[in-house]
Amino acid sequence: MKRLSGLLVLGLSLAGVMLAQGGLLINGAGATFPYPIYSKWFDQFHKANGTQINYQSVGSGAGIKQVTEGTVDFGATDGPMNDDQIKAYRAKNGTGILHFPTVLGADVPTYNVPGVSESLNFTPEALAGIFLGRVSKWNDPAIANANKGVNLPGNDIVVIHRSDGSGTTYIWTDYLSKISGDWKDKVGKGTSVNWPVGLGGKGNEGVSGLVKQTPNSIGYVELIYAAQNKMTYGTVKNLAGTFVKADLASVSEAAAGASKTMPEDFRVSITNAPGKNAYPISSFTWLLIPEKFKDAAKRDAIKNFVKWAITDGQSAAEVLSYAKLPKEVVDRELKALGKVQ
């Protein structure tokens, strides 16, 4: 019965109908990347507090759109809203919107080079060159110099990227934009971009499937996906000059490294972050919470949820391979939560 009413609500909110609900029921929509941890959190939170939160993982873009139009109570996104979007939100709703980082994710380079079973090292120059189409052979000095002793073939590199718009692509292109001026000018960052080279696969499974099938290919997938599927992936040279393998610790360190320079509103990219062991292709994922709520009960429930998620909820994150928020960030978020009225 609960399931049935959930479906009904889903259908209604999809149709863009605001629900004047008597019981406490909160609707959210947005990013697909954190959906596994969010659904677990909502379930645990429901059991503990009786507040039901429905979340549609419709994508970051749709999440921003829906929260701006007021069809959901909160949104979620893998890339922070830009200034235009925030302005549009303020114009429409007469109040601001706040970003709250919840967990961390990362992108890892995965490849299929026949005869190479070692974990490869990638410099920023090599990654930018490969994805711009300039480094086109596996034995190019840009790759070979960082992988001494590995017998790299002289075959053409086949680049594989995501074909669907996704936060994973946003993080990847955000990183490439930071480390390569050419990438920034020619391609830029976004959930979908105009790729200079390569084939597109739908979703993490599409990319990893194409990489597995295509000899001499390279692609990128989320760390969680790579970890769950026990895929081999390469290390990436960070700002400090160390080759770092992505794992929960190195991703958390990237967030800690970036937290000192983090702006008040948490809209920060932590790719290429400082820190000796910081993994450079990491990112927050955010909840989008309106500054003012008309419904006090809803406001308190959402505030309680965010508070719980960034403190007690974090232990559940690691089980699902999401990196935890560093303590500095949690403290600042708890303070920022006071702004929600």
Binding site: G59, S163, D164, G190, S192, G200, K202, T214
Partner: protein, 329 residues
């Protein structure tokens, strides 16, 4: 299609002498009204669809105008959008699919309807109907795990070795691409062609065959020169159905086409289709211009279907006088 030629006595103007009430009592008028409403709803839905797509795609129309149709660039970051590569991919994959599916499908339908014994024909038909009901994502998986590896290791090298002088079969073969998408689409639409064509062939009157045989033609001559021309309208109908499915197919295509907006003379090259790009980018499309450009692509797909269907019908009309049948089946 042929409703105007069906003679319904109560709907005849001659019957106007009977009072409206008495006709109402007979139920004819009610049936007429209700079925008319059902038929009108189809037109209504089509009009509503076009209207909605038109309204929701005003921004790109103002910004790009007709250049939208001939621009190759699709850059969400710089907000420059053009549909040409997607139109090309859609038309090419549908073309490849039909050129494989039409001969295979019609050949199989002729065998099932005319030549095969009933004992074989009925179970085979059961399997064909089953194939038509398989969800497209299953065909996509089939494409990923069977057609793509076959393409890379066997089909592409063979084609290059034999027909490599044609620009169609040159360049690197990644496994994904126009040809792979066309083959998967062909597998998907063949059941439609077989199923509908077989029914049409079976409904050709027996005396047509007997007349041909009595005139001394062989069994194959009676089939190919009398029965098939008699059923050609219905067979064309099955091809329209196949074309519509091939143009609009999303899931299976996006899994095997390579999702790269490019125009290449090689069928091995990766491409992109309209339906695939809409499915891929719609959820994460931020910004009104981006979203509306995707909606405009939907409108383009609608137009494309309309035009191609129109051309196919025109072709049928132009060739209708050929053959011995009148084209009604």
């Amino acid at each position: 299609m042929a409703t105007s030629s069906i003679h319904v006595p109560s709907a005849d103007p001659v019957d106007n002498s009977r009072s409206f009430l008495s006709r109402l009592r007979n139920g004819d008028e009610i049936a007429r009204l209700v079925t008319f409403l059902f038929a009108a709803s189809v037109v209504l839905i089509t009009v509503l669809l076009v209207y909605e797509l038109w309204i929701a795609s005003s921004l790109p129309r103002q910004k790009f105008g007709l250049a939208f149709f001939v621009t190759k660039l699709w850059d969400p970051v710089a907000e420059q959008f053009g549909a040409l590569t997607f139109i090309y991919g859609t038309v090419v994959t549908a073309g490849v699919a039909l050129s494989i599916a039409i001969p295979l499908g019609i050949g199989a339908a002729i065998f099932l309807a005319e030549l095969a014994p009933q004992k074989l024909s009925d179970p085979l038909q059961f399997f064909i109907d089953l194939l038509a009901a398989v969800p497209s994502v299953i065909y996509g998986v089939l494409g990923v795990f069977i057609v793509i590896p076959l393409m890379r290791t066997w089909i592409a090298p063979t084609l290059k070795a034999t027909l490599g002088f044609l620009p169609l079969f040159q360049g690197p073969a990644y496994g994904v691409g126009f040809l792979t998408a066309g083959i998967v689409l062909a597998i998907m639409v063949i059941p439609y062609i077989i199923s509908v064509s077989r029914e049409v062939l079976l409904s050709v009157p027996r005396d047509q065959r007997e007349a041909a045989l009595a005139l001394g033609s062989t069994r194959w001559e009676s089939t190919w020169k009398v029965v098939v021309p008699f059923a050609r309208t219905g067979i064309m109908g099955s091809i329209f159905l196949a074309l519509a499915r091939a143009l609009g197919e999303t899931m299976a295509v996006t899994m095997v086409i390579g999702n790269t907006p490019s125009i290449s003379s090689s069928l091995f090259a990766p491409g992109y289709s309209i339906a695939a790009v809409i499915a891929n980018e719609f959820t994460e499309a931020t910004g009104d211009l981006y979203l509306q450009s995707l909606i405009q692509l939907g409108l383009v797909l609608f137009l494309l279907t309309f035009i191609l269907n129109g051309l196919a019908r025109l072709f049928m009309l132009l060739t209708a006088s050929r053959g011995s049948g009148t084209g009604r089946a």
